[in-house]
């Protein structure tokens, strides 16, 4: 309290009003900042980490997607490209900064409370793009608090950002794309992957990602799950077991394996803290990872001037996050009069064409349908409100 008064209040006169504040500098946030800044908006990009790029710099694999749109490029290289562009555009950035509140969200100028290690203060922005990404899901089991049990995202940060192997031999829980990709990256880092267990009778990720690790000798155990972790100071063993089709553990099919890390890859949940603070309406879509802020085709939420993009708007791939960020950036610039409605509409049309293509096929179709459903729900809500 005291500290906030000292640093926050007396700086009040020096407060600046930005055209667009972008919260989160992953692929979606970077793209939103770039698109808005290109159209001469005064942009402030805020991120709680020490480096721009969000999860992009952990992605050392080549991305799928359209080849005229970064595909075939390793994730961290995309991060480098976007960060360089941001620098050219002279976007103001504030790293190591946490947004702890959004006030006056309904009014024309929104107040953001931000905190760094040294101080907390207020920033004013006419439009806000929230691109706070997602949080890893976990499954609780006996022993899950023993050091060495972590999300695959944490293991990936240790390996690919800090270059510290999190362990010598790992068990991965969940065979979706994230689990399969990180298993492969562990092999690349010289970590032995004992197995991947998946409760479903089939893998959730792409077959090609699974094939990459299978041919390196890593078993993928379908209809299997983790029962408990054993260890005192750190994980020493994991007990895995087969499950029946109702996901009940079959005790007599238990197996104990020697591992020193157990990593979850059981999905992600949109990080909606800030959109909830801002009073945006949310809706549930299991295909998109749970509760998401309702938004329309311009990525604007039910609160005027607050936009969303990236995994927060629905758990999808980086290529979708990049496009979502573009939509939000262009739309915010348009709403402020920095670009014409025609130009913005033309850009959005192009993006939507590609987004629909990215969301076609057996993997993308459910997400496309869920998205369409949620946009329709948004429209209904808006009409009722008027």
């Amino acid at each position: 309290m005291c500290k906030a008064r000292e640093t926050g209040r007396h700086r009040q006169e020096a407060r600046e009003t930005y055209d667009v504040a972008v919260l989160g500098s992953g692929p979606a946030g970077l793209m939103a900042a770039i698109e808005a800044s290109r159209r001469n908006c005064r942009v402030l990009l805020i991120d709680e980490n020490f480096k721009l790029g969000g999860q992009l710099f952990k992605q050392i694999h080549k991305f799928f997607g359209s080849s005229d749109h970064f595909a075939g490029t390793r994730g961290f290289r995309i991060g480098e490209m976007l960060a360089a562009e941001l620098k050219n555009l002279r976007v103001e950035t504030s790293l190591n900064t946490t947004v702890i509140g959004i006030f006056d969200a309904q009014s024309e100028t929104k107040r953001l409370a931000i905190a760094t290690y040294e101080r907390s203060e207020e920033v004013l922005a006419k439009k806000v793009v929230v691109a706070t990404g997602a949080i890893e899901n976990v499954v609780p089991f006996p022993g899950w608090t023993i050091p060495g049990v972590m999300g695959v995202g944490a293991a990936q940060t240790l390996m690919n950002i800090f270059r510290v192997p999190p362990g010598k031999r790992s068990l991965i829980v969940g065979a979706g794309n994230v689990g399969l990709i990180v298993a492969y990256q562990m092999l690349q880092a010289g970590i032995d992957v004992a197995a991947i267990v998946e409760a479903m009778p089939r893998i959730g990720g792409y077959g090609v990602h699974a094939a990459k690790i299978l041919r390196m000798g890593v078993p993928i155990l379908l209809s299997h799950t983790i029962r408990k972790a054993i260890g005192t100071e750190h994980v020493e063993k994991a007990v895995i077991t087969e499950v029946n089709k109702n996901f009940k553990q079959i005790r007599r099919k238990e197996k104990t394996i020697d591992v020193d890390i157990i990593c979850f890859a059981v999905g992600l949940t949109p990080n909606t803290e800030l959109t909830r603070l801002a009073g945006c309406e949310h809706a549930y879509a299991h295909e998109l990872g749970g509760w998401i802020p309702l938004h329309d085709n311009t990525m604007e939420t039910t609160v005027d001037g607050i936009y969303v993009a990236g995994d927060l708007a629905g758990i999808e791939e980086a290529s979708v996050a990049i496009d979502g960020g573009k939509l939000a950036g262009v739309s915010a610039a348009e709403a402020l009069g920095f670009t014409t409605a025609e130009e913005a509409e033309k850009v959005r049309k192009g993006i939507w064409k590609r987004l629909n293509e990215l969301r076609s096929g057996p993997f993308g179709e459910p997400r496309r349908k869920a998205n369409t459903r949620k946009v329709a729900e948004y429209r209904r809500k808006r009409e009722n409100a008027q």
Partner: protein
């Protein structure tokens, strides 16, 4: 000759685990029936949004078209077996196979993203799709270029009967012990 059945539609039996099913294997084997020199074998059976292979091939042998979730349509007549697509495919799902490398052996080129790299002439274990050692292979070529961006293309020679199963390598450590077990 075009391999039409490989194109446009996803096979009914999508593999549960990422290993080509028998039906999918049949498609691969069909490609290799009429043989000249090295030729790409595309083990991509799911409609995922990706078309990197199409633009990587300067001979126009791979077509995806629109939407980009189409499966690759591979034109054998145009393939020169250059191996560029092997390094470009983000799914590491393309291999180049030369069934006429020598009277008894085939040459298999595969993507490899591990260190250390094998040395030319080195004897390695060839692994099947489940990572099980199936035979020995000799390293014929290690292709790396800036353009490949660290996806090296390793070419090994293996007995002909293993050409359709050798999909990875292991650089030996106690190699003798494991083979045949």
């Amino acid at each position: 000759m075009r391999n039409r059945n490989h194109a446009r539609t996803q096979t009914d039996e999508v593999s549960l685990i990422g290993i080509p099913t028998e039906k999918e294997m049949h498609i691969i084997l069909n490609i290799l029936k009429n043989k000249r020199g090295p030729m790409a074998v595309i083990e991509c059976f799911q409609q995922i949004p990706c078309n990197v292979c199409e633009t990587s091939c300067q001979f126009g042998a791979i077509r995806i078209g629109r939407p980009m979730t189409n499966l690759p349509d591979f034109d054998q007549a145009k393939c020169r077996g250059c191996g560029v697509c092997v390094s470009k495919c983000p799914g590491l799902a393309i291999f180049v196979i030369d069934m006429n490398y020598s009277p008894g052996e085939a040459a298999v080129s595969l993507p490899y993203e591990f260190l250390p790299l094998p040395r030319i002439g080195e004897k390695v274990q060839a692994l099947n799709r489940y990572g099980k050692p199936i035979c020995f292979g000799k390293i014929l070529k290690v292709a790396s270029s800036e353009n490949f961006d660290k996806t090296h293309v390793i070419t090994i020679s293996v007995p002909k009967k293993h050409a359709m199963n050798a999909r990875s390598i292991r650089i030996p450590k106690n190699m003798r012990k494991e083979i045949g077990s």
